[in-house]
Symmetry: C2
Subunit: 391 residues, 2 copies
Amino acid sequence: MIPSFNFTRIPQIIFGAGKLHELYDFALKFGKNILIITGKKSLKESGKMDEITSNMNNKSVNSFHCSISGEPSPTLIDEVVNNYRNKNIDLVISIGGGSVTDAGKAVSAMLSKHDSIKNYLEGVGNKTHDGTKIPFIAVPTTSGTGSEATKNAVISEIGPNGFKKSLRHENFIPEVALIDPQLMISCPPSISAACGMDAFTQLIEAYVSTQGTPLTDALAMNGMKYISQNLLSACSSGGSSIEVRASIAYASLLSGITLANAGLGIIHGLASAIGGLFDIPHGVVCGTLLAEATKMNIKNLNEVGYGGKGGLRKYGDIGKLFFEGEGKNEVYHSRLIETLETWSKELKLERLGKYGITAEDVGSIIERTGLKNNPVNLNKSDIKEIVLNRL
Amino acid sequence: MIPSFNFTRIPQIIFGAGKLHELYDFALKFGKNILIITGKKSLKESGKMDEITSNMNNKSVNSFHCSISGEPSPTLIDEVVNNYRNKNIDLVISIGGGSVTDAGKAVSAMLSKHDSIKNYLEGVGNKTHDGTKIPFIAVPTTSGTGSEATKNAVISEIGPNGFKKSLRHENFIPEVALIDPQLMISCPPSISAACGMDAFTQLIEAYVSTQGTPLTDALAMNGMKYISQNLLSACSSGGSSIEVRASIAYASLLSGITLANAGLGIIHGLASAIGGLFDIPHGVVCGTLLAEATKMNIKNLNEVGYGGKGGLRKYGDIGKLFFEGEGKNEVYHSRLIETLETWSKELKLERLGKYGITAEDVGSIIERTGLKNNPVNLNKSDIKEIVLNRL
């Protein structure tokens, strides 16, 4: 049965090695005043930033460049917006990882407003954004968040009263997602691993989500097929292969499309809480929790019996990606958990303790954690167990 | 390997039984002056048109209603545009079959122009449309063309110098596709069959297309799964089942998304030529040619050997949908051709001769037929054979 569903627009997608060169003509369609947001280092070091600036100049574009570091905070977004509000910006382009993409998306949404982004963040402010924005092109340089295809920008304020919350509107889906796997070649193994595991987590959580539809299922399964065949390679000897990087970039794009339409589960519930309290990369939180959370979900789905059969079948579908031949659902489940545990080790995903999180913090983490669209209810002690096992 | 690809935006999708009632609030977001385009009969007879008008009036909308019949011609579009150009239309809504959707899309694109649509049709006029348009919501009442998700409107002028050509621009993708399977319940079996076979043809042609990508493949395969399980039922006892109608409506939507991004093959090449010369419903042409064209493509793919292996595997994937158990590719191919031949009979798809097409016309049909993105080259005698076998 096909349930009722809504499916958001997706950006126009330009995908392929070397496609960055199409950015310049494309950008011109939107106007001459272009704000480019990047990270602090990698584009500059690789010489790519010089190439981009010189190409923009050749097109007689009036481009502004702003570089940021770390995951974007309200203060950072407000500062950038204040600096460029009166420059008549026609187009915002982000070229960078998930944080840079989120920053670009947030800036493009806030340039028409005259107050702080904090007022519009879900669960933080009390204003609703009306969706007016400056057009936005996302050019990801890591494969992870899928933010190039989503309608939200994640903004963090880290500390005891910290948060990691979204600015969200249908209109915030980028006009264009330009995905050039060549830009991912220089991404180091540890970042490729954390980002890739974020994408995998998003695909799994969207696939088993209570809000999944045949359309999100088809896309998530397609993305997981490419992750299952390429992620280990992308983080080791295959890191210099365009084919391998393209596979992960494609899966990451699908993870964004599916999460925007099916939502996420307990891992992202925890990541939101942990990311507000501690300075820890989002991909590391997701990756390090994936095996434990999957184990806990499958255990609880087995306990609830009939009601959870959809979820059990779906975890079985995922397990099949790692299993040659035919087996029972339980076999696929074991194979999936084993694979995720092996991958956690092979990808050297750090434990939460590495970032200063201790058993004493678990209470305040749990308190802030929502289940989102998790396929089964988990109680506080279940959630606690997931975190404790990865301290 | 993931090839380079572009993927167009898709409309915001609102899908589900009873969702028509969401149209009214949604429409208001675009403004108060709304032009509704429908077919001549079915909405009026079912009382749905009265319901729609009264709901629009309740929202204090200034709505105009224009009904059309048959596949849209340049004269028809120009007439509608001339009548409404000065009404400050904020939104065009089409509620009807593929012809009505195409008419709505064309009108929304031409309201800002002051000359004939003929000037902008591919292969007919010599002007390029710049993409400016009035927002457009498509509400399909048949499941076939997938036009609610495509960037082109097909416009026909029938006769010895006739044509069936597209007005096309990325911007012409509807803002919203509202798909309510309840609206399809009253569609008679013969139309359900022709439309459903059009959708199936689009999915097959996009799947085996030389321009297919992993993304279009995943979507096409998902759509074909639902067609394979539901089309016969939708055209017989299952026609009153929302579940069955929803499955075909969903597959039809996917056929639009995939054809917009992977293109089509020989059957649509022939349908374009035949539809320009003769007054014959598009779905009938596609449906009646599907088995013969599939047989011819598979035969030629086998002859070319290695180069065509992708196509042979892909036809095998489709055949598997109709085959329980494991077999060789050749077995799946035979099963697919048998199924398509059986379906042609069970769905009572009329032969081309019924519409006055004779062996004498075949020459001028072939002359106007392009291969599009067919997975294998076919020579004129191959194409002739396809048509002659369905006269």
